[in-house]
C-alpha cells in the first residue's frame, strides 16, 4: 500500500514540470509554431531559477526569473520564425544547442569550475505554509505540494476554458489553423504568434525552474533530461487539448515515478534498464497515436503577409 501511495504522490510531482512544458508547447503550436526547443528553454529557466533563488534566497523569485530568462531566449526563436519566416525546426534545434550551453557557461562563470556542489533550499509545501500536519494519503496528495503544483493544475483548467469558451481563445486557435483566414477577419496574426512565444517561453522557463527550486536542491548540466521532448510527445498524445495533455503528463510522470521505484526495489537488474521506461513509453505512445494527424493545420508553416 505504501508503495502505491508513494508512487501516486511521486507521479504528481514528476508530472508537474511536464505539465508546464507541455502547456508551453500547446500554446506555441496552437499559434502554428512547432517548438522543438523546449529542452533549451527549460535548461536556461532551470539555471536562472537556481541562480536567482541562490542569490535572493527565495525560490519564488527564482521561478519568476527563470520565466523571464526563457522568454528572452525564446524571442530569438520568435523573431527568426515569425518575422523572418525561418524554418521552425531549425531554430528550435538552434535553441536546443545554444541555451543549455549558455546555462552551463553561466554556471561555470559564476561558481567556478570544479567547486563543490552548491545547494539551494526548496520551495515549501502548502501544508507547511498553512501549518497543517498532513498524514493521511488524501491530505498528502492535496496539501503536501508546492505552490507550483497548484499553479500547474490551475493553468490546465484556465487553458481548457480559454480555448473552448472565450472569443480570444477562438481567435488564437484560428491563427494556428489558417492564419490567412484569421488575417482576413482582422486578427493580428503576427501579434498572436509573438504572444504565443512569450507564453511558451514563460511556461517552459517555469517548467525548467521547477526542477531546481522544487525538485532537486542543485543544478547539474542536462537536468532537463529530455523532458522538453517528452512534452512534445505529451501534446500529440493529448490531442492538442489541455485535458488530454494533463492526462498524458500524468501518464509520463507515472512512468518516471515507477522507474525510480523499480530501480530501488529490484536487484540484479541494471538500473539503466528501468531508466528507459519513460522514453520507451514515449516511443510506444507516439507510434500508436502519432500517425493520426490532428494538430493545428498550419503548424510549422511560416505566415507571409503578401504572398500571392
Amino acid at each position: 500500500m505504501e508503495f502505491v501511495t508513494n508512487l501516486i504522490l511521486a507521479s504528481v510531482r514528476m508530472a508537474t514540470p511536464l505539465i508546464f512544458l507541455s502547456l508551453a508547447e500547446l500554446y506555441s503550436q496552437r499559434a502554428g509554431l512547432v517548438h522543438i526547443g523546449l529542452e533549451g528553454l527549460a535548461a536556461i529557466g532551470s539555471l536562472t531559477g537556481f541562480l536567482v533563488s541562490h542569490i535572493t534566497g527565495s525560490p519564488i523569485v527564482g521561478v519568476c526569473a527563470g520565466a523571464m530568462a526563457a522568454i528572452l531566449v525564446n524571442m530569438i526563436y520568435a523573431y527568426a520564425t515569425v518575422t523572418l519566416c525561418a524554418e521552425q525546426i531549425v531554430y528550435g534545434m538552434a535553441i536546443n544547442i545554444f541555451a543549455p550551453a549558455l546555462a552551463s557557461f553561466i554556471y561555470r562563470v559564476y561558481f567556478g569550475a570544479g567547486s563543490e556542489l552548491v545547494q539551494v533550499p526548496l520551495m515549501t509545501n502548502l501544508s507547511a505554509l498553512l501549518g497543517i500536519n498532513a498524514d493521511s494519503f488524501i491530505a498528502k496528495l492535496f496539501l503536501e505540494q508546492t505552490l507550483m503544483v497548484y499553479l500547474a493544475y490551475g493553468l490546465v483548467i484556465f487553458t481548457a476554458i480559454y480555448f473552448s469558451k472565450t472569443k480570444s481563445g477562438l481567435n488564437y486557435k484560428a491563427v494556428g489553423e489558417y492564419p490567412r483566414a484569421a488575417a482576413t477577419l482582422g486578427i493580428n496574426v503576427i501579434g498572436v504568434k509573438y504572444i504565443a512565444s512569450i507564453i511558451c517561453g514563460a511556461l517552459a522557463g517555469i517548467g525548467g525552474a521547477y526542477l531546481t527550486t522544487c525538485y532537486t536542491t542543485t543544478y547539474v548540466d542536462g537536468n532537463v533530461a529530455g523532458r522538453g521532448f517528452i512534452a512534445l510527445a505529451a501534446v500529440i498524445f493529448g490531442r492538442w487539448s489541455a485535458g488530454g495533455v494533463l492526462l498524458a503528463c500524468l501518464f509520463f510522470g507515472f512512468c518516471d515515478a515507477l522507474q525510480i521505484r523499480l530501480q530501488v526495489a529490484s536487484f540484479n537488474v541494471p538500473y539503466q534498464f528501468f531508466q528507459m521506461i519513460p522514453y520507451v513509453a514515449t516511443v510506444v505512445v507516439l507510434a500508436i497515436i502519432g500517425m493520426k494527424k490532428a494538430g493545428p493545420k498550419s503548424c510549422g508553416k511560416p505566415y507571409r503577409k503578401e504572398e500571392r
Partner: protein, 502 residues
Amino acid sequence: MQEILRMEHITKRFGDMYANRDINFEVRRGEVHTLLGENGAGKSTLMNVLFGLYQPTEGSIYLNGNKVKIDSPAQAVKLGIGMVHQHFMLVEAMTVFENIILGDRNTKGVFIDRDARRKEILELSQQYGLDVEMDKPITEIAVGAQQRVEILKALYKGAELLVLDEPTAALTDIEVEGLFQIIKKLTAEGKSVIFISHKMREVLHISDRITILRAGESVCTLNREETTGEDLANLMIGRELVPSQYKKIEDAGDAVIKLTDVDYCKESKHNGLNGVSLSVGRGEIVGIAGVDGNGQSQLAQVVTGVITPDSGEVDMKGSRVAKFTPNGFIIEKVSHIPEDRNKMGLIGSMSVMDNIVLKTTELPEFSSGNGLYLKKKAIKEYAEQMQKKYDIRCASIEQETRNLSGGNQQKVILARELESDPDLLVAVHPTRGLDIGAARFVHDTMIAARDNGCGVLLISADFDEILEVSDRIIVMFEGEIMGEYSGKNPPINEISLAMAGK
C-alpha cells in the same frame, strides 16, 4: 445611384511585374458590378488591395466620398467591406458557428455568448435566405454551403460592400442559381456586390455594370444592356475571337497505344475500367467524353504507366507492355498533362525554370554525367526560351510556380511535356479553370502536336472542348466505353445520351 466606392489610379507591383496598373474602378450602392478579365488580368490583386491584404504601390481609395487608407483586413472589415475569397477562408477544424463569430469585435465580454450570437446569426440568415447548419464542422458541409457561410460571415461583420471572388468556380449549376438569388436579395437590401468572374453567361445574367480588366489595366466600364457576350470576350482578350474550327483528321497513322479489354477494379463504377478497348493513332486526337468520375482518371493512369491493369493488354507502338512504370512510359515518349496541375503536374515550391527541365535533367545539354552535375546556365537559357515560346507570364523564371496563375502554370507544364517531342500526349482536363485565351493556347498547342505526328488522348469533362478539338470521340460511362463517334459532324444528341449511360 449613390457612389459607395471609388478606386483611383491603383497600381500594384510585385518586383518588376505590374499586377495592376493605373486602374480606376467605382461601385454604386445596390448594384452588382462585375470585374471581368482573364486569369492573371489583375482582378484578385485589385480586390486584395481593396481588402487591405496588399498595399497599393500607388493610388487612392474613397469610401462614401471619403479618402481612406486600408492597411489591414481588420480596417477593411471595420469600413464595411466583406470579401468571399476564391479559396474559402474557413477554418476546417471549427464549426460553422465558430467560423462566423471568429474575429468578432462588436460584442463585449470575454466569453462567447453562444445563445445570443446564434440568435443574431439566425436572423441574418433568414433575412437573406442563407440557410446553414450551424453546428456542423466545415469539413462536413458542401462547397455551396461553405460559400453561404462565407457570405454570412461577411454580413455578420457588418459588410455593406461584398466582394465575391470567382464565386461560381466551384459550384454546380443549381448552386449557382441559389447564389444568384442571394445576390439579388443582397442588392435589394441596399448592399453592393463586386462580382469577379470570367464566365460570360453568368456575367451577363447577374451584373448591372461590367468593368473589364486586361493585363493589369482597366479597359472600360459598360452597362449590361449595351453589350453582348462577344463584345466582352473581345475586350477581355484584346483581339477578335474567331469561332475556331480546327481541321479534323480522318485517317490516322499507326496506333501509338492500343488497349484491348483492359480491366481495372472492374466492380468500382466510378474509379474503375471495365473491358476498355481503344487505340490512339499517330496524328490524331481522341477525345474521351463523359461526366467526371466514370473511370477517366484510371484510364489516364493506365496509359501513363502509373497503375497496372488487372487484366487485358496494352500495346505501345506495336509491342506489348509488360511492366507498367511511369518512367518506362516516359522513355517511350509518353507525355502527360495531369488532371491536377498543382498536385501532380508541378512542384509548387520549385521555380519555373526547374519545373521546365524536371523530366530532362539527364540530357547532355542540361547536365554532365547523366544528371550528376547540372548546367545551370544552359538550363536558364533554355527556360528563358521556353518562357518566350509558351508566353509564360511570370516575374522571372526563378519565381516559384505556385505563385503563378492557373493558365501560366499550365503553360509551364505544356513547355515541359511537349518540347520532348512526344509520341503520345495524354491530356486530362487540360483547360480546367483556364480563361478563354489560355484555353485557346492549350488547344492550339495540342493541334500543333497532332500535326507533328503525335497521338493525343484528350480526357475532358468539358463537352465543348471535346467537340472542338477531337478527331474521334469516345464516350465513357461507369468504366465502360459506350460508343465511338467521328469528330467530324458528331451526332451531339446521341453522344449526350451515351454520356448519361443510355
